[in-house]
Symmetry: C2
Subunit: 914 residues, 2 copies
């Protein structure tokens, strides 16, 4: 959670006595702020009695002083000296001692792991003198000179700022001269020569000699770690990850141990259980006679950790015991780095290990069963993003594939079907049982039927917030968008990729998790988790797998704890029923404009083109029964649960052809003297309704106030549908929602009209109706005047999509392509504010509106129906500001349920607002 | 000020003992909240010992009780009874007494005068019995029956809700039967018959008889006044004028006096000084033997008030003395209604009188000279709207004119010139000394040169916030827009209005104050006030007129008191110099995009079409010297004063052709096989840059972050220009302003880049430069995170135009035409939020951002550069929230100065923020 990064509390960062250096025996794992993650865990292991090479940690407080003043704190030099003395006593040798040098590593280690900072300088303490001592002590002259060579190279590059290529070139020259394939083939004499050259490079490029004084080496390395906090890359990373810029980094000084001193030495990594499955067992890799960097470089192949048992049974048994200790102690999967130096096992690092989504769920429940953690803690061990990952079907990784191209992974999943290039064909083919992939340059609301009918959507234009991407994510449907290599030709019903032509009917496979598009059918593995939510697989049943059991239990933990209710955004009975299966407790947003499309478009066109009151009333009368039927079905599907119906929102020209297309058509027709009265009339209407900025134009409540009878028709349809359901002994719970309200006066006028219509329906049907009426809060002004608006609204539903657009002043249709990428790269956004709610800006408005609204009307119902309702971090925020519910697309409901439970289970999750 | 309406304080509204009726002797002029304006002034005059017909006032508190509970307060009937008794004793006759009836009028009178409420019922107390008594007492039977007829008609219509047409039809029938031209020709017998008919109409239509009990008449009339508070028209008016809906109205019961009892009677209106010029003297009208309603009906001609001296010297002298008393007492021009009944003078009403703008200034200074008011109070007697009116030239009202059509009065003034239909011709002709009127269907930024060159602008499309209107108002240039009768044909260079064709070169006259458009030249009277501000006429000079003297003095009062500084929005040296003459203390907004138009468009096109870094850098390099030259001129014009330069703001496609126009052109050319490479390339660029909602797209700081080098070029131009001016011993004070910032990270990146460029210029020129850097606050998010943004900004300039658009979620280009009119009609807006700042919404953000910004940076400079900076009410708001300056178009500067002074001179104007 980046949230915890934002709200770092100074409990463990600034002790009163300003002690700047902690021996490994003095710290513990809860001092990450002060000692960094690496230092805190080294201290924790030391205190557990595990074999950690002795050492000490310089606190991030010292770094802060350095960054603020440009010099180390006055006391630091002496403190480091005292700890170094102690270390030397403990190790029985002095840093850089000529005959038997103590060598140390200097490593950065901040509270949050952070690429871009100086990582490590090994072998500090080597010099022209001590290199001989190391050779003697190790009995390996080549090893000693290679270690020295590495020190000068690493130190020169990272501490003295020498161009690293200079060292590489010298090394290459040496290998060429020796006709050596790798540097392993260089002997001690070669390396001695190389050391000489490296020292020259340092003197020339850094303007100073490589320091021979070991303490000076150490001090310069420490300072260099401090300074690396502020490299451009580190700053960029912090901006992107929202890590505060003033935390500073700790520095770890650790005595060196060597895994490359012969066959009785080696190095390895291990996990306390399988990070892929969560199963307990022996997982890891081992490399004999090697150092950690060799494992990373992949020069030789590692062996499975289990083989260590035969190589070095004592160390193996010892490691197994240590791993048990660590897992019990950390109460979680740990990953470990270790080195064996001549039969002696040393622990170099441990931390709570990363794992796959599936393993996260399994491990959490396993740990509950082992009694190591309780249910609330188990909830903190998983998250909604992981659950979402588990819900998508996947392509079989083993299958043979033919890659066509690659776009943006807009909505995950694996879809296979016949290529179709228009909605009509998509619907027709899918009705006859074909699976289809809808391929378009870009989609628009007209493609909705086709998108519903298709297995997946593929576009050659648009980004992660394009229409295709947003709608597909909303439907939980696989989508790859902006695959620019594809040339889509909708007229000829085909697309071209390089020399490959894909015709209508050819089979394609679309991977929404990777953005890859394949020709032909790639086999798909279905998600058992979705089978479970859909009710086709049951936890506890014989065929249920472990993962489903774990998910089932975690969902139960979450549902028991959460205070937020979870509703669905659904516009028809089918979606509503699915949402119900997924656990929806109502519908938070039914968009009535989706009921105006398809075959009803002609009626809507009549409404828009109406010249007289009569024509308009006639058009509305024609629409009424259709609307009513929609609502009857919806209320039946959600019987007994609240259904929030939003009155018509989008600008009317969305129901008409595009102005440029139509203008060109008409101009061309005219140039052929080919008059088309209907087109001309349409063009006139399109011109009249054309807006420079339709998002900021005539829509929402403004339509309702300007077009007489429009909202009244919709309210009548809702009221009559509710009456019909009541008559049929149903339990309809309709809530009427007015979009785009900016001022209470708008709402008052619409409310008065609605109440009159409802009274009429009550009278004409004889059925006692109670419909609640509320508003979207989706304009900054609505949020700012929420106290006034609450006087006329029984509920608020925050439309955080539009609110994000107006608060930031950008339209999602436009900005992603033009500058979102640049903004993410520059770290201006950590994450798109359309994905996770912008807490400082949009969130402040939401928080303020909640408070003001409840001051006016204490029982005001509060919810959110923007896409943020299904976003993990945002759900936590909504929990904290005290909403009653979140509403999201059906597919996101389990995620929202889980996250709502996690938010409530947090130690500070009791609904406080900051 | 509507503000005072909004913040009505209950000091004079709810006395503890709930006394519901006040005798005229008990009230005073400061009790307007309780007694209404009319009642308070009647009481004031009574207490001054002036001859007011005795009576009493029922408080608005009684009305509030009635409106809340549906019945009069329990005590009211008795209290009214007691006051009626006292009145009857005083008058020596009883209400409706058969032989000599006391008659009363019942009039509404709220705190704010309000059309739509029940106005007056006269002659209460007449009945079948008392009509004879009145006849006897007055010695005029016709008078008595006519009075009775009027009572039944008025009472029937307004109190009993009878359809007024029924009375009018009966009256017409009677006149037809008698062949009478007017009702004067009906005699007593006719009127008796009419009374009978009227009573029948009442019985039939109201379902009850006309009440014969005089007390019942009075009580019903009182209740009717109460109820008229909530008529639809009254509610609508209150919404529009932002008058709180819960004030209620008072009711005045006044004994009747009659001006129609013979030649020694009469009625009149008078002003204590000339409301048109402010001169002291005898101003008013008198009508012998008549009632007030006859004066209004205009049946007979009135005589000048001075003639009363010969008609009735005693009354005349008495009236003169009373007028002196009133003016001294009210310390202002009063208007008066009076009646003389058989030689006896009665005062029926007085109030502070309306006056022309010019008179307001003259009267204020005259009253200062007379020692009646001080300078601070004088400032409250005028306002910026009046000053603005005085600044526009006007057409000579006496001239003969030929009206062509009428549009929206978008920007006042009187302009005459030759019709031109494109900017090119406008500029060409104006250079050769012609005065031109630019006539377009609508304007866009390309027309700017033409608009500058033209005397006035006339469009056939667009409303008060269309491009033409906004830009013209900004320039202080006459504009009529949306004159829909005009068919503008730019291709043929002519327009048609009905059968009249106006060709290029024909002279037209455009009145921006009335929206009227004339054919031919209408003589224009210049504004001496502008001559004065321009320095072409001097206060104190021989030829200066009184008005200029008064304005000069009032401006001095304002300048002495104001705390807000006033800057100008100006984009070139010419505007800047004018602004300086008008009193600007700097430039608050220089829009650099205006420097990208005209002949430089080609360079900008190159910049946009640049495919490579080289091409882009070359394009920027070409633009640099032009930008620099602009700034040198500007800094020279504003030497010693701050100049805020805003970096490029608008979306790039504004510099390219319209997508639809270009698409049609290309399609037509293609259909003719007529390829145009340049058009095709342009079309590609236009498509790439096309945005659904350009206002919410790639513009402002986003451009600066996405197009490498763009902002750096602009900053370099500013810095080099400043260096050049410094080198020439000038005192340039440049401030660099970043537009459309939403988050502090954007600002930090731009600031770092700017600082680097400035350092380079400092180094290359050797001149010590100090440029301050700040940001527009024009997005809600900028305002919400102002505390963070202030860390990187030395100043904030609120862009309240854009802020209004995003806070409300509407684009000014789109919404006025589509729904602003409806919103104003429905009272959702009292005034467009683009004219006067929306204090509850936009204003709250401004207030919060000021506070948060100053918390971070106490010396943060705060200003506003939206159009609100020149709006009177908004200036008061900006004073209250503690801005340092407002910036507005040069022409509005005197208005802003005056209003800033007025705000500071208000009793509570010491800068408190609520």
């Amino acid at each position: 959670m980046s949230e915890s990064k934002d709200t770092h509390v100074a409990t463990d960062t600034a002790p009163q006595d300003q002690k700047f250096v902690y021996d490994f025996t003095e710290g513990n794992k809860d001092l990450k702020g002060l000692l960094g993650g690496k230092g805190a865990n080294l201290a924790e292991m030391t205190n557990l009695g595990l074999p950690v090479p002795p050492g000490f940690t310089i606190t991030s407080e010292a770094c802060k002083v350095y960054l603020a003043t440009g010099t180390e704190p006055a006391a630091l030099r002496d403190e480091v000296g005292a700890h170094l003395d102690a270390l030397e006593r403990k190790m029985g040798k002095k840093l850089g001692q000529a005959d038997d040098p103590l060598l140390v590593s200097v490593r950065s280690g901040a509270k949050f792991s952070m690429p871009g900072m100086m990582d490590t300088v090994l072998n500090i303490g080597l010099s022209d003198k001590s290199v001989a001592g190391l050779a003697k002590q190790s009995g390996d002259e080549r090893f000693a000179w290679d270690s020295y060579r590495r020190l000068i190279q690493m130190f020169g590059k990272t501490v003295l700022g020498v161009d690293g290529d200079l060292f590489e070139e010298a090394l290459d020259d040496a290998k060429r001269a020796k006709k050596a394939a790798t540097d392993i083939d260089l002997d001690a004499a070669d390396l001695k020569k190389l050391v000489k050259q490296f020292k020259k490079i340092v003197s020339r490029d850094a303007g100073r000699d490589f320091p021979q004084d070991p303490r000076e080496q150490m001090d310069l390395a420490i300072r260099s770690v401090f300074e690396s906090w502020n490299t451009d890359r580190a700053k960029l990373y912090r901006r992107q990850e929202r890590i505060p810029g003033d935390l500073g980094t700790a520095v770890n000084i650790c005595s060196m141990v060597f895994g490359n001193l012969g066959p009785d030495s080696g190095t390895g990594v291990a996990f306390t259980r399988d990070p892929a499955s969560g199963h307990q067992g022996v997982y890891g890799d081992y490399l004999q006679n090697a150092q950690g960097e060799d494992v990373v470089a992949g020069i030789r192949n590692t062996v499975p950790l289990a083989d260590l048992e035969t190589i070095d049974k004592t160390s193996y048994d010892r490691l197994m015991r240590i791993m048990e200790v660590l897992e019990t102690h950390y109460r979680d999967l740990c990953d470990i780095e270790f080195t064996i130096e001549r039969g002696e096992l040393w622990m170099l690092q441990t931390r709570v290990g990363k794992r796959t989504a599936g393993a996260a769920f399994r491990i959490a429940t396993q740990l509950v069963d082992q009694g190591l953690i309780d249910e609330a803690e188990a909830l903190q061990r998983v998250n909604g993003s992981q659950l979402a990952q588990l819900m998508f079907p996947r392509f079989d990784h083993g299958a043979k594939t033919e890659l066509l191209g690659r776009g943006i992974a807009a909505s995950p999943g694996a879809a296979v079907g016949k290529a179709v290039f228009d909605s009509y064909t998509a619907v027709k083919w899918s009705r006859s049982g074909e699976r289809v992939i809808l391929i378009r340059r870009e989609t628009n609301p007209d493609d909705l039927d086709g998108m519903i009918a298709a297995e997946g959507i593929l576009t050659s234009r648009g980004g992660k917030t394009s229409h295709a991407a947003v709608v597909a994510r909303g439907m939980g449907k696989t989508c790859v968008c902006g695959a620019e290599e594809l040339e889509v030709d909708t007229k000829r019903r085909r697309m071209t990729v390089g020399r490959t032509v894909v015709e209508e009917g050819d089979i394609v496979s679309v991977d929404g998790s990777t953005g890859k598009v394949y020709l032909g059918e790639v086999p798909v593995v279905p998600s058992p988790v979705v089978e479970y939510f859909e009710g086709r697989m049951h936890a506890g049943a014989d065929d249920a797998d472990e993962l489903v059991e774990a998910v089932h239990r975690m969902m139960a933990y979450a549902d028991r704890r959460r205070r937020l209710r979870v509703r669905a955004n659904a516009d028809n009975a089918e979606d509503a029923l699915r949402a119900r299966r997924f656990g929806a407790q109502g519908i938070g947003l039914c968009r009535t404009e989706h009921m105006f499309l398809g075959e009803r478009r002609a009626m809507v066109e009549k409404l828009i083109l109406a010249d007289t009151d009569d024509e308009r009333e006639q058009a509305l009368k024609t629409l009424l029964p259709y609307q009513k039927k929609d609502f009857v079905e919806l209320f039946e599907a959600m019987d007994g649960l609240p259904v929030t119906v939003r009155l018509l929102d989008p600008p009317l020209h969305e129901f008409l052809p595009d102005i440029t297309e139509l203008s060109v058509r008409v101009a061309l027709a005219e140039s052929r003297k080919d008059h088309n009265e209907n087109d001309l009339r349409l063009l006139q209407a399109v011109h009249k309704l054309h807006e420079q900025n339709p998002m900021l134009g005539l829509r929402g409540v403004r339509l309702g106030l300007v077009i007489p009878g429009l909202f009244a028709m919709q309210v009548r349809a809702i009221a009559e549908a509710a009456a019909e359901r009541k008559h049929a002994k149903g339990d309809p719970r309709a809530e009427i929602m007015i979009p785009l309200v900016g001022t209470v006066q708008e709402l008052e006028i619409v409310r008065d009209e609605a109440e009159q219509v409802i009274a009429e329906v009550r009278k004409s049907t004889g059925i006692d109706l109670r419909l609640s009426l509320g508003t979207m809060i989706e304009l900054p002004r609505a949020a700012l005047t929420a106290g006034q608006i609450a006087e006329a609204a029984e509920f608020f539903s925050f439309g955080t999509n539009d609110l994000t657009q107006t608060v930031w002043g950008f339209s999602r249709d436009d900005v992603e392509a033009s500058f979102f990428t640049a903004y993410l790269e520059k770290g201006i956004f950590g994450v798109s504010p359309f994905e996770t709610i912008d807490m400082d800006g949009v969130g402040e408005l939401v928080r303020g509106a909640c408070e003001a609204g409840r001051r006016t009307r204490p029982d005001l119902k509060l919810g959110v129906c923007g896409e943020h309702g299904g976003d993990p971090e945002s759900v936590h925020f909504f929990h904290k500001v005290g909403l009653d519910y979140v509403s999201c697309s059906p597919f996101r409901i389990p995620v929202a349920r889980l996250e709502a439970g996690r938010a409530a289970a947090e130690p500070d999750g009791r609904g406080d607002t900051r």
